[in-house]
Amino acid sequence: MIVKIKNLTKKFYIGGSFFTALDNISLEIKNGEFLGLVGASGSGKTTLLNIIGGLDSPTSGEISVLNQFMNTTSHTERALIRRKNMGFIFQSYNLLPVYSVYENVELPLILNNIDKKSRRQKVLEAIDAVGLSDKINSRPNQLSGGQCQRTAIARAIVHKPALVLADEPTANLDSENSHLIMEIMKKLNTNYNTSFIFATHDEKIMGYLKRMIHIEDGKIFKDEKIKL
């Protein structure tokens, strides 16, 4: 089991009162899943994704990610878990603007203290996997939105994490690029058995998901396994 959530609740203090973003959620995600947290804006899917990624903490309930009980782990331990075993893909790519494609993809390996020679090999492999070998020295401002997101995917998978968390990865992309991105991630899921969890409300990508967890008003109202 890669993620195990039990009775998880998350409340935010907004404007003098508490807003319940996630309400008593329980969920299990197995290794190698290609799963979408699906719901409208404000449904709580991104909050859940952030809690799984250790970027946020639950108000109550239990959560284990990659066999680590996240409720009691420190910031440092969570950072270590993210560094070693997770990859992140953001809606607005979050590439470092002064870095080239190569350097952006190389960053997680530098943080993991991988030696230079191994780094080069892994970076080139990841860039090749997303089809950006011809853009290796380009900077984000020289890339299209689709190319930026492919760079972000390469950065997320370069250190072969067990889990990739993608928050609205296709929201800023056109249809063609959205499909291309999803094809790449599906291939990576198949080839490396990397688990992918998406937070999305994009209809275009639903067809690629093997499992969809529908969230509405902070509650899971449907857990749908899809046979492709």
Partner: protein
């Protein structure tokens, strides 16, 4: 690892980095240059005083008080023989001081009349110019400031009135034979210089003088009841002024530094806050908060080091040039009673250079540390979104 990332960030930021470095470098230059000019100004005043008034020191008549002209009429006597011998061997010079009045164009101007050994080379006063005069009038040397004030030029004649040793007023016709340029207003304004022998005759004070200035190569111990005034004593007023002025100097340094610090703080804080999203991303990728802060602090430190190197390379030659050839000043400050060179040579002391570099370095560390620490304390989710708080 952090060092490599910091280098990559700085180099990758390209023009933004170099603009920051350049601004910091200009700040360092301005602080060093301004403080150097200030130190140079004070040092120049000291040097000019020694060069034109003090030399190696002096023996004063026991009654002589340069700040009380009333004492002048009683502060003269036969120059002690030991000092006369020094004067004859060109190791000292005599000065006889008296009050007088001059009447250029009918105006009355009170002056201090000083008779001086013309052959002297001890003080930087062009007394030998008077030797060239062959006329019958009293040859007079004045400074450029005095010339402007009295509107007297070379060849102009005027009445000089003085009181002699018998307390009898007498008068004669003086003629300007030379106008000297001097940075020392104290030998210029209100002063007329003439041959000591001539003045001794005019005042009926044969072989008398008020004080004797000796060369800085010798150190006579005593001369009868005349009082020895060494260099330390003679520059004490100047040193007191400089010492009293130290808080001003420190204040000017602090103001300059604060202005520079504000510029650096503004640029660096803005730069770091613009990189909020980057900080959030680094945290999402697994960089610990402490390391994020350290990374940005290292960037600040390297920014400072680049700025110091750039200052040396870019402004070093300029600072060196000024320290050799000086900086021409647009105004003649002697009119304001200040000893300021017309071409001021800045002096950069080692403590000034080291302290400025160190303080700018620390400021950059601080202004990199504080905003990055603030951002790293933000909720990572907000930082990733680049959300402002």
């Amino acid at each position: 690892m952090l060092f490599n990332i910091a280098i990559k960030n700085l180099v990758g930021a390209g023009i933004r980095t170099w603009l920051n470095v350049f601004v910091t470098s200009v700040s360092i230059f301005m602080i060093i240059f301004s403080s150097g000019m200030y130190t140079g100004m004070k040092q120049h005043a000291m040097n000019v005083s020694i060069d034109t008034e003090i030399a190696g020191g002096a023996f004063w008549h026991p009654n002589y008080d340069p700040y009380d002209p009333i004492t002048f009429e009683d502060s003269h006597s036969i120059t002690p023989s030991i000092l006369t011998e020094l004067v004859e061997s060109n190791k000292a010079l005599e000065v006889l001081v008296s009050q007088a009045s001059i009447y250029p164009d009918g105006r009355v101007v009170p002056v201090i009349m000083k008779g001086i050994t013309l052959e002297q080379e001890i003080l930087n006063i062009p007394t030998k110019e008077i030797l060239k005069y062959e006329g019958d009038n009293i040859p007079i040397l004045i400074g450029r400031g005095m010339s402007k004030y009295t509107k007297l030029n070379i060849g102009d004649t005027f009445i000089i009135r003085w009181m002699d040793d018998n307390r009898t007023y007498d008068a004669g016709l003086g003629e300007i034979v030379f106008i000297m340029d001097s940075d020392n207003f104290k030998i210029d304004f209100g002063h007329i210089w003439l041959p000591i022998e001539k003045m001794q005759k005019m005042l009926s004070m044969e072989n008398e003088s008020t004080y004797v200035v000796f060369d800085d190569n010798i150190n006579p111990h005593s001369a009868g009841d005349w009082i020895k005034r060494d260099v330390k004593y003679l520059i004490r007023d100047m040193e007191t002024i400089i010492e009293q002025d130290r808080p001003n100097a420190i204040m000017i340094y602090i103001i300059l530094l604060s202005l520079a610090a504000m510029g650096i703080f503004n640029a660096q804080t803005l730069s770091i806050f613009r990189r909020k999203k980057e900080i959030g991303t680094l945290m999402a990728l697994g960089m610990h908060k402490r390391k994020v802060v350290l990374l940005f602090t290292i960037e600040g430190a390297m920014n400072a080091i680049f700025a110091i190197i750039l200052t040396v390379l870019l402004f070093g030659p300029l600072l060196y040039y000024f320290s050799i050839y000086g900086v021409p000043l647009p105004i003649d400050y002697s009119d304001m009673g200040l000893i300021i060179a017309k071409r001021l040579i800045p002096i950069y002391s080692m403590p000034l250079l080291v302290a400025t570099a160190l303080i700018v370095f620390l400021i950059l560390l601080l202004v990199s540390y504080l905003p990055s620490r603030k951002i790293s304390k933000m909720h990572p989710v907000d930082a990733i979104r680049g959300k402002t708080t």
